[in-house]
């Protein structure tokens, strides 16, 4: 790990995340996946939005963009389409990616442009101090829901699949090795990839909802996660309150930037 830190992290630590936050585990999983695949560090770009998880871009030693709240995907789309040789990885959170960035999320998935999105899901807005997000479970407490949330949460993996994502996976901070694996597969996949990384926010989500400390929240991830393979053998009743981890969906479809090259070829033939 020390070698990985030296190679892939900028000398800017300590980070801003709270004690017990899972973002460090998810970030290191991204780095391990990049290292495992041997991506060219000079040809890899990390784009993030705004929020706790989006601060990760500043710690990583690549070309990095800390963009605007919800807007990482349009910026990443511009980078990837302008220079398809670059590996473009997007770091976003549940509020950033599915509330203010929700429209960008479904349309980027629909285009099947080769971006890898790692969505850190901590079920809350952490940076602003604990407000509910579209991924906060119903009846949770938040500073903007002192009597409990009314809204139903997105299943972001199902949403991505329905919108046209060709690779969808879920991992957790607890299952860190598996997270590395599903991120690496997502980066290798030629198309839009979403990896939902379930992570704990003991301070702003856990405390308000009596979820215990960071280790208790990690244990909850362990106890409630069921691998895709194991889930096949369980009844719907047995799966009640559980969530699936692993590769949830993978399909083949033409990738946007490659298709665009076809447009250029057609236009240039026509022009001549």
């Amino acid at each position: 790990m020390e070698k990985l830190i030296e190679k892939y992290y900028r000398p800017r630590l300590p980070h801003i995340w709270c004690p017990g936050c899972g973002n460090g585990i998810v970030t290191s999983s991204i780095i391990k996946a990049i290292d495992k695949l041997g991506l060219d560090q000079d040809k890899t770009v990390i784009v993030s939005g705004i929020g706790c998880s989006s601060r990760a871009s500043g710690y990583l030693n690549f070309d990095t963009v800390h963009s605007l709240h919800g807007r990482a995907l349009p910026v990443a789309t511009g980078i990837k389409l302008a220079d398809p040789e670059l590996n473009v990885i997007v770091i976003t959170g549940d509020g950033d990616g599915t509330a203010i960035g929700g429209n960008h999320f479904i349309h980027t998935a629909r285009r099947n442009i080769n971006l890898t999105v790692i969505l850190f899901n901590n079920n809350i807005y952490g940076m602003t101090g604990g407000q509910y997000s579209p991924l906060t479970p119903t009846d949770s407490k938040a500073t903007t829901a002192p009597y409990g949330t009314l809204e139903r949460a997105f299943d972001i993996a199902e949403l991505a699949k329905a919108a046209g994502a060709t690779y969808v996976a879920r991992g957790t901070a607890f299952h860190a090795n598996m997270l590395v694996d599903v991120i690496a597969k997502g980066i290798s996949h030629d198309g839009f990839s979403l990896i939902e990384a379930v992570t704990q926010c003991p301070i702003y989500f856990g405390r308000q909802n009596k979820k215990g400390d960071a280790s208790a929240m990690l244990k909850t991830q362990r106890d409630n996660a069921v691998t895709v393979e194991a889930a096949k053998k369980l009844s719907p009743e047995q799966l009640e309150g559980k969530f699936k981890i692993g590769v949830l969906h993978q399909s083949e479809a033409p990738e946007y930037t490659k298709q665009y090259q076809g447009i250029i070829d057609r236009a240039q033939k026509g022009a001549k």
Binding site: D42, G58, L68, R71, G78, I79
Partner: protein, 375 residues
Amino acid sequence: MAKVLLLQGNQACAEGAIAAGVTFFAGYPITPSTEIAEIMAKRLPEVGGKFIQMEDEIAGIGAIVGASLTGKKVLTATSGPGFSLKQEFIGYATIAEVPIVIANVQRVGPSTGQPTAPAQGDMMQARWGTHGDHPVIALTPASVPECFTLTIKAYELSEKYRMPVLLMLDEIIGHMREKIEIPEYDTIEKPVRKGPRVGPSEFKAYEPDSDGVPPMADFGTGYRYHVTGLVHDETGFPNGSPAATEKLLKRLHEKVERDIDNITMYEEYKLDDAEIAIVTYGGTARSAYAAIDMAREEGIKVGMFRLISVWPFPEKEIAQLAQKVKVIVVPELNYGQMVGEVKKAAEGKVPVKPMSKYDSEPISPKELLAFVKNL
């Protein structure tokens, strides 16, 4: 060989962008700017460039910010409601110093307003639309040929100062057809971005040269730097100290202010012996030429100071004008926007009369002539 064509202002803007070396456009359809997107969709792949229609106006400008970071020259085009939505990324490109060009073909507002009718009501939004203190450069073409040349100019300025440049067309200019002589594009000098002169290990992404502008590395070339909308120091990383905050904001303003004489563009029309000066811009200037010619035939000494660059505002030139003439008239298609700047620069030395029109019709030469005669 140069070609003589009959083009719309929007077409000339799109062709100017191609001539300047633009290879990336992202946008969203909106009247009366849509032709720019349509033309870029056809033309860019022909020259090996990329066009993408995004899911909304915000994504359009977001994508060009991303593409610019890879070293491409980029364009987006919009109008009123879309211009409002683009403001947050205009601020981002200003603080993160990402060169981009935005064409705003103005229509009647606020809100949906009158999509197909001309107005010049976004002049103050161009100046102050994005939040916080920031410099801005905005240009207003008054003819189809000028749409072409000012679009190229916009790239020169945007690349030189590393900031957004706004092309403030109005529906009159965007949809007007005129004769235009277009040179061979390979004879046109392409604006060049200033790249790093040191290797990655010595490179500080936001360390300015003596002109206040930091050299910019293309993504993917090994410089591995950080781009953020947070206040940052020379390294590019967040630094919220009062000293770093003041230093950055001061530099962003001063890189433009110190070079204002090189940015300022205007035209003087029959102004030498004028007692009445018309200060105007864009489509409204077209009526002013005619009104001035008619007034001159009647022996009225009137001339025009036509703003070509509206932001930064040419205060010095307007102050000098205020010393020379007896009255200044400011016709514009809004409730009175640039007239306030003219008054400020004139410092009470001469009466400054607004001639505001906001009924969705252009100001006719006869109306302007009548206004001048009734002064």
